[in-house]
Amino acid sequence: MVGAYKHLDVEMPVIGTVCRDIGSELEGVSMNACKRNLVVAMATSFLMSGAVRAADAPATSTPAPKDALRYQVVEMSGKVRVAEIGVDPKAPTGWRDIKVGEFLIAGQQVNTGLRARAKLVAVPSNPPTVMLIEPLTSVQISDLEFRKGAQGDEAYSRLQIGYGAVRAGVAEGSTRSNMEIATPGATLSKQGTDIFRIHYYSQNDWGMSLSDKGRGLIQAIQNRQAAGLNRGLPGFQSRFVRPGQSVNQEMLRTIETEVFNRFVNVNDLYGLTTGEIKLISLWGTGLNIRGLEGNIIELRDVTGRDGIINPEKQGAIVGVNNGTTLQLQQAIDRIKLNQRRQPRGNSAGDFGIGQGTVPVNVFHSAGKAVQTMATINHAAQKSAWMKAKGPVINRK
């Protein structure tokens, strides 16, 4: 992906975020697998430097076999251009306008201007795939083929967005779909999801979303180092995106439309329902299980990050983001156990005020500071201060 944006003449992080679809076929995929796939994707991106890509780009004159995977233009409006990968979008030559019925193959890039759109379908349509390239978009198709995957035959497609937005949907078919759409800020990988949208305009303006009636799930995994957010935190953070939800560059959900999700004001005890009181009393930090009265929507660990998905299958094997796989109930029990084991100084919910221990520089000798832990006793300090101050004189 660095090479894909070489003409942009900026240093782009190879992968900011990997967005992975966790559908029914991917239950139990651990974070390690996600990281492994991310490394594979990163390695793939390095191979896509300009020189290498130009050498590998198929020649226009070589026709693709009839059963080769291709995208065909079914609808379009405005000016939509196509060229070989490696041709500068600003160059006056090398580009031509595409027409309805034209095929797009691996090694080509598509550029749309304002008021221009192109709707593509995969041919052969197994699995049935439809894609919409929105206005002001530059997307290139680096890989498009049928291949043998780990779980059988799959339609393998890799696209890269330099800027702009793409929507796509894949219906179920006898062949699996292995589609990945990469941007400098995020990579969306799916294997059975519709209808999703990914947009990228800058590192501070990208997002992914699933439509309200969408099918499947997307897990966004952000490479914190690539995003410049690595301040001693783990290299990756993840977010799950469900139908009706979206995620943006802040790795926050911008839209949540879950039926059972509502703002619970924990300060208003009289306004809480029985279920909400139960939730607060059982899981005081509020960062764990969401979904009340048995409706488990999602499960997070104490950091607030997503652990599992798939609310329908309570007994399913699920993954938590420490790399292990557990049954759902085991995962719930483990989180509750971790809560009880938390040190006294757990700052969740109290903003770190008034409890626990703090590091204090007690000795400073010959330029060498010795740091030790000391328990702050506010009452004792106040008492000592009052004694030093002397008795309070009534000035009335």
Partner: protein, 228 residues
């Protein structure tokens, strides 16, 4: 008063100029009140330091739009061309003066801004032009004050931020190419929804591409011979 004269010279505060005489005639207290309410002196954006390798003026509209996506900063000349492409779908003008005249005659840009073509354009000016092109009314402040020039660009930007078309920043901040592209894409989407230009409705959404049972509808391949 020195401050007022400086502000009066700066084109950004052209809307404040009528007050100069009033303040000059008024007493010390009125000047103090004005100073207390004064907007910060804004440094005008100058020419960009790095000259692009290719001349954007010689590019076609599609190539120019691709150039904008990579441009670190956008000049007034480039922004005017981008706004004409957004408004009309294409830019038929040959010179900056033609574009300026066209935008100002349509009320999209204002002559009082006194923007120089080689200078970097600010986000506020672009926001105002986009707001006019998209025929957005704006809020109370925009109507009361922006209509005659006081904070017109600032309130336009606040309107776009409110509509989530632009991320929040200072209105005098330099406009970058990637921000402009993102804004233009969202503005184009808004214009299409409002029917401000004729378009064939090509969409991929739950409303248009799902059958009664909620399954995705994938269009059939065209029967015409493919062109490769």
């Amino acid at each position: 008063m020195v401050l007022l004269r400086i502000l009066g010279r700066c084109s950004r505060f052209y809307g404040v100029t009528p007050f100069q005489n009033t303040i000059a005639k008024g007493g010390r207290s009125s000047r103090l009140v004005l100073l207390a309410c004064i907007l910060p002196i804004l440094g005008c954006l100058g020419p960009r330091k790095e000259v692009p390798a290719e001349d954007p003026a010689s590019m076609s509209d599609p190539a120019f739009q691709a150039y904008l996506a990579e441009a670190p900063y956008v000049t007034v000349e480039e922004a005017y061309r981008a706004m004409l492409i957004l408004a009309d779908g294409e830019d038929t003008c040959k010179t900056h003066e033609e574009r300026q005249e066209k935008l100002e005659s349509r009320g999209i840009a204002r002559a009082a801004w006194k923007l120089k073509p080689e200078n970097v354009i600010d986000a506020g000016s672009v926001s105002y032009m986009v707001m006019k092109i998209c025929q957005m009314r704006g809020g109370i402040n925009s109507t009361l004050f922006g209509s005659w020039g006081l904070g017109d660009r600032r309130y336009a930007m606040r309107e776009l931020v409110y509509r989530k078309m632009l991320e929040d920043s200072a209105d005098y901040q330099a406009m970058t190419g990637d921000r402009l592209i993102g804004l233009m894409a969202r503005a184009d989407d808004l214009m299409e929804k409002k029917g401000l230009y004729e378009s064939t409705k090509i969409d991929l959404s739950d409303e248009t591409d799902r059958d009664a049972s909620g399954e995705l509808i994938v269009p059939a391949s065209p029967t015409t011979a493919p062109t490769e």
